[in-house]
């Protein structure tokens, strides 16, 4: 048998080293990320109890929970989705249907992709300048608008992509039967892409439910239970931020509990979004 040439041996050795490095980085990356999740579960679960859901945020060194923050987060995210989804849906429809090949759509597509990654703290500053400073005080409404600005580009992007997956033959068939475009979009295109659109909205919810920076200068926070959107409103991320940086142990424990709840929510929504897509694909 021929012994391998030194050159081949060198090539194989280099290959082995590189593959080892790739495997090691994969292992290291996954271990670190697993550590983060592990710590989060450990700390979060040990801080979790019935009070967390039933009581409002306490003062330093006293009993309490996160009820007002959780309710506030629901209200802020809910209103943001209510504002952002229709805008995103119609904008995505414009990019995919009415204006698909227009120059304007090209520019808007480009800008939307940028808006998707604009630092969320910049969005917070913008809403502060427009909705907080003129009014003179922080409000839940301003927070919801800031979150809605993050919902829009996500929904636009997924809606357009999903509508484009609908085959053109369906459009042509509907138009050939004399259906006006709007009728065709509503009854054929949206219906065919429904699961994809829902996925986009779910992903947007997952994205905003942990956003902190846009709320800092808009919704601010509130130590008391409040449903008034025109006043400052507590939210889970801001409460975590404030409590984690405090020197009080009970506040830090609540911060961990809140972080655990947020992660759980985000992961559950993401998994749900995947399930919706998978089901849509099978149908």
């Amino acid at each position: 048998m021929l012994s391998p040439s030194p050159r081949l041996r060198r090539r194989k050795a280099l290959n082995a080293v590189m593959m080892l490095l790739a495997t090691a980085s994969a292992a290291l990356g996954l271990i670190v990320l697993a550590l983060i999740l592990g710590d989060l579960c450990w700390q979060g679960l040990s801080a979790l109890n019935a009070h967390v859901l039933s009581q409002d945020t306490p003062g330093p060194m006293s009993e309490g929970g996160l009820r007002n923050a959780i309710v506030g987060s629901f209200l802020l995210s809910g209103l943001a989705v209510l504002i952002g989804t229709p805008i995103g849906l119609f904008a995505g429809t414009y990019l995919s249907e009415y204006g698909r090949y227009s120059k304007l759509a090209q520019v808007l597509r480009f800008l939307n992709d940028i808006l998707l990654s604009v630092p969320s703290i910049i969005v917070g500053l913008f809403v502060y300048q427009v909705l907080v400073r003129p009014v003179g005080h922080f409000s839940g409404l301003a927070g919801a608008v800031a979150l809605a600005i993050l919902v829009v580009p996500t929904v636009v992007r997924t809606t357009e992509n999903m509508l484009r997956l609908v085959p053109d033959q369906l459009r042509e068939a509907a138009l050939a039967m004399g259906a006006p475009r709007w009728h065709m979009i509503r009854r054929v295109i949206w219906k065919a892409a429904l699961s994809g659109i829902v996925t986009g909205v779910l992903l947007a919810i997952a994205r905003i439910s942990g956003e902190t920076a846009p709320l800092l200068f808009t919704a601010l926070s509130n130590s008391f239970f409040s449903l008034d959107m025109t006043r400052p409103m507590a939210s889970l991320p801001i409460t975590i931020y404030q409590f984690a940086l405090s020197p009080y142990e009970n506040w830090q424990a609540l911060a961990w509990a809140g972080a655990f709840l947020i992660t759980l929510t985000v992961l559950a929504i993401s998994v749900l979004a995947r399930a919706v897509t998978a089901k849509g694909d099978r149908a």
Partner: protein, 322 residues
């Protein structure tokens, strides 16, 4: 004269449908323009808020190293420095690791594990940054202070030249810790993006290369990487754009000191951390205007990086005939 000229009555279903179509066209165009209006609104409102600072401090605002609310003297340089240093360091860590993970997932990982690991990484990319922040504050910072930083100071700190980067007492928090947290945060994003890009390489090309007897590394180095270079650079810039503007993960562990430390172990600040920390406490006037000016600088910086990233990613999409 003829029947054609008579407009159909409003109750005619066809006329109603056509009117609905015109309205829907207008509404969807309006919704699409919201994206444009938001970006214009951000630019104008930040520019207006930053104007007093730019007017009073001039271009020196960008290069001055002082940040003193008491004497009302503000310079953006320390914050810009911290932003760039932490982001670049984070990318230096996350990009090679992300490439490694993508390579592992596309070439080495046993097939039944590829999908679950891929999905896990995608899910991790969606975890909010405040989670990374709180973990950094309570777990990573103490670890850095008691174990990693003393070790770095004792070893790398003694090397002439780069030793200055690892000098000083171990605070735990600081530029290096912030960069590490940022790296962990963008790693899942970089890894899943890179994997997707790797998968767009035509399989025929790779199989042909394997058929000629190339090793896996040679196929990666000479076929996959060159084929996806533009998209990779675009993807990395997208990740850089995120790192530059990241707020919560950094604010917890950067130390929030308006200084420009020579050592990576010392506290510093970034643009986003400075805004998050000081904006609500800032008195109206010069102080808050200076912070909005910082925000304007960050917006311009990330806009340029993200625009470049999009242009590169678009070039790849066009080449693939999409």
């Amino acid at each position: 004269m003829t029947a054609i000229d008579i407009p159909p009555p409003l109750s005619d279903p066809r006329a109603r449908a056509l009117r609905a179509d015109r309205i829907a066209h207008g509404v969807s165009l309006g919704a699409a323009l919201v994206v444009l209006l938001v970006l214009i609104g951000v630019t104008l409102s930040l520019a207006a808020g930053a104007w007093p600072a730019f007017r009073d401090l001039g271009p020196g605002f960008l290069t001055a190293k002082v940040w003193n609310p008491v004497t009302d003297r503000y310079g953006a340089f320390t914050a810009i420095y911290g932003t760039v240093i932490t982001s670049v360091l984070a990318m230096l860590i996350a990009v090679p690791m992300g490439l490694g993970i993508a390579l592992f997932l596309t070439e080495l990982c046993p097939r039944p594990l590829r999908r679950p690991i891929g999905i896990a990484i995608e899910l991790l990319a969606g975890i909010p940054s405040i989670i990374y922040g709180i973990w950094g504050l309570f777990v990573l910072a103490p670890l850095m202070q008691h174990t990693v930083q003393p070790l770095l100071i004792a070893t790398l700190g003694n090397i002439p030249g780069i030793g200055a980067l690892f000098a000083g007492p171990p605070y735990g928090i600081g530029l290096l810790t912030a960069a590490l947290i940022l790296a962990m945060m963008v790693l899942p994003f970089v890894a899943s993006l890179t994997r997707d890009i790797f998968l767009t390489t035509p399989p025929m090309l790779r199989e042909a290369a394997y058929g000629m007897g190339m090793t896996t590394w040679e196929v990666t180095r000479h076929i996959t990487l060159p084929k996806s270079a533009t998209a990779l650079v675009g993807g990395m810039m997208l990740a850089l754009g995120r790192a530059l503007g990241e707020t919560m993960a950094v604010t917890f562990v950067i130390g929030n000191a308006h200084r420009m430390p020579a050592s990576l172990l010392q506290p510093g600040t970034t643009i986003s951390a400075a805004i998050a920390n000081e904006f609500n406490e800032a008195s109206a006037g010069a102080y808050s205007s200076a912070l909005i000016a910082l925000g304007f600088v960050l917006f311009v910086l990330t806009f340029l990086v993200l625009a470049a990233a999009q242009l590169m990613l678009r070039r790849l999409a066009r080449r693939n005939g999409r």
